[in-house]
Subunit: 354 residues, 2 copies
Amino acid sequence: METLLRLLAGLGGARAAGEGPVSEPGSSPPALGIGMDSCVIPLRHGGLSLVQTTDFFYPLVEDPYMMGRIACANVLSDLYAMGITECDNMLMLLSVSQKMTDEEREKIMPLIIKGFRDAAEDGGTSVTGGQTVMNPWIIVGGVATVVCQPNEFIMPDNAVPGDVLVLTKPLGTQVAVTAHQWLDNPERWNKIKLVVSKEDVELAYQEAMFSMAMLNRTAASLMHTFNAHAATDITGFGILGHAQNLARQQRHEVSFVIHNLPIIAKMAAVSKACGNRSGLLQGTSPETSGGLLICLPREQAARFCAEIKSPKHGEGHQAWIIGIVEKGNQTARIIDKPRIIEGPAKLSAAQGGW
Amino acid sequence: METLLRLLAGLGGARAAGEGPVSEPGSSPPALGIGMDSCVIPLRHGGLSLVQTTDFFYPLVEDPYMMGRIACANVLSDLYAMGITECDNMLMLLSVSQKMTDEEREKIMPLIIKGFRDAAEDGGTSVTGGQTVMNPWIIVGGVATVVCQPNEFIMPDNAVPGDVLVLTKPLGTQVAVTAHQWLDNPERWNKIKLVVSKEDVELAYQEAMFSMAMLNRTAASLMHTFNAHAATDITGFGILGHAQNLARQQRHEVSFVIHNLPIIAKMAAVSKACGNRSGLLQGTSPETSGGLLICLPREQAARFCAEIKSPKHGEGHQAWIIGIVEKGNQTARIIDKPRIIEGPAKLSAAQGGW
């Protein structure tokens, strides 16, 4: 939930209501709300807050069932970024393409809906309504809403110097999806065929798909266990864009420095072969349903990364320490030559991640 | 919020949680949820319910500011149909057309957003977030959410024989919008020019626009004052379609019979001149942001219609008694030759209604 916020901001006055941060002497008042992943609305009823978010976009994988799962994971991720693990209700937003035949529509749309609903069920919630229209393009998205007590969510504004930055999914989903499309485009494929095999690209695509479909719910739950100070999820602005947004929201005088970039295997090479135009190594490549970027106390970060891999949380979770929080002026940057962390070259698609 | 419900229903199991109706001996259990205007979710917190709805569609009037207002009124209307007068939060859903130039985009989209926000403000709520994408067509819509105590909403399932049906906006919005488009299409215009003047069509279009932009909030409030038994709002399925949906949801053995059709001036004649293909006189012409159809105790209906016109509720409100509730089998119909109630031929557009 981000693009509209900028449009609204342009009109002046769009701010998520919520627990307004206390601005510190010498710092400008942080624009909490603009750029936040979810909006937080104090309710008329005893200390409760309404937290909700919406997201919708276009299919980017070929499998309609997985597309439904990804869309749902992407919507819920905005709640998870605030450490919220429950969702009271979901609505689904859909458009059916006019270009589809009746047969295609009847085959594909129920699979998208089933994927969305199954992911919602995995998140402990359900879809009770929504809206569908006809449109030139397919649209898939939704709305996630929860009513919370104050201890159920973590406002993303409390990072302090000395904290460590942790990321819970690898980067490179967009690059993997694009490279996969190039398999059918000889001219484009020629640009990257010296650095990757078709099998590499298939594997990266599978990994991206399962990574995007994975819920950030475990990460949200562990934010409480390990006393997270702030978090956001990585989507359209890339790791650097979202790190910058998060830095701007902080109450303390901090800046974020990213040293390591976990990237889906071979996608860094693909990006380089294309002259880095994707922005992957600069942290600006868009991601879909990416991981959480979490500010954790230094002594908790390694424990967080160990715990999330525990089999008790299901397969496929991983997390990396990617940077630090310094004293600074609400900015974020990636160091000159960040360390690229690539996953193992071989992984089981069925495993759903690294 | 309706089309998706049918898609979800097709997959089995999509139901709004809520206060399940008690089915009576001999009647099939009503599918409360499917076809309801809003979903009602019991919360984990002391007796509260989450009520929410979403709607989005394509522009149908030329004035972007009014289009924003209409989209907002249309979303809120699903809450108002349940007698809910407050809304805790709105999200806005937008797509910007790729075919717009930068200049068009920068001129038009802020006006749509302003209209939406102004209508939200009139409804005592505000827009705190949303999502925007690029798309071949412009999309405008939103999400309305409220957390309610049980006495704040009226479940739409309690109509009894002897009740009276009241409608709070005239029908014919779609016909008026279409006729207005035909002003620029000589071939189409020839079909209707014998029954309407250009001025008639301009006036009908203005009236439709202001009617669609009007909030059903006053009607929602008066539902409590006059002890309404059930209500729905009139949108894409036309008056008959929504009356049938509402009839199916009733706990008692009832059917709805509609005798009168309030219609925007001259639009009945336009519809007849086109061979009744619009469905306006059959009650199947789609409406956008239509009125509430309310089941009221007989002794309250006339008082409701008088009260809504009171200047203390602002200008432009009106309501008509259009039919009755009989003992029956959860169906709705329009009598053979319904009485057409046309508004005064001249009305001030600034007044925003009849």
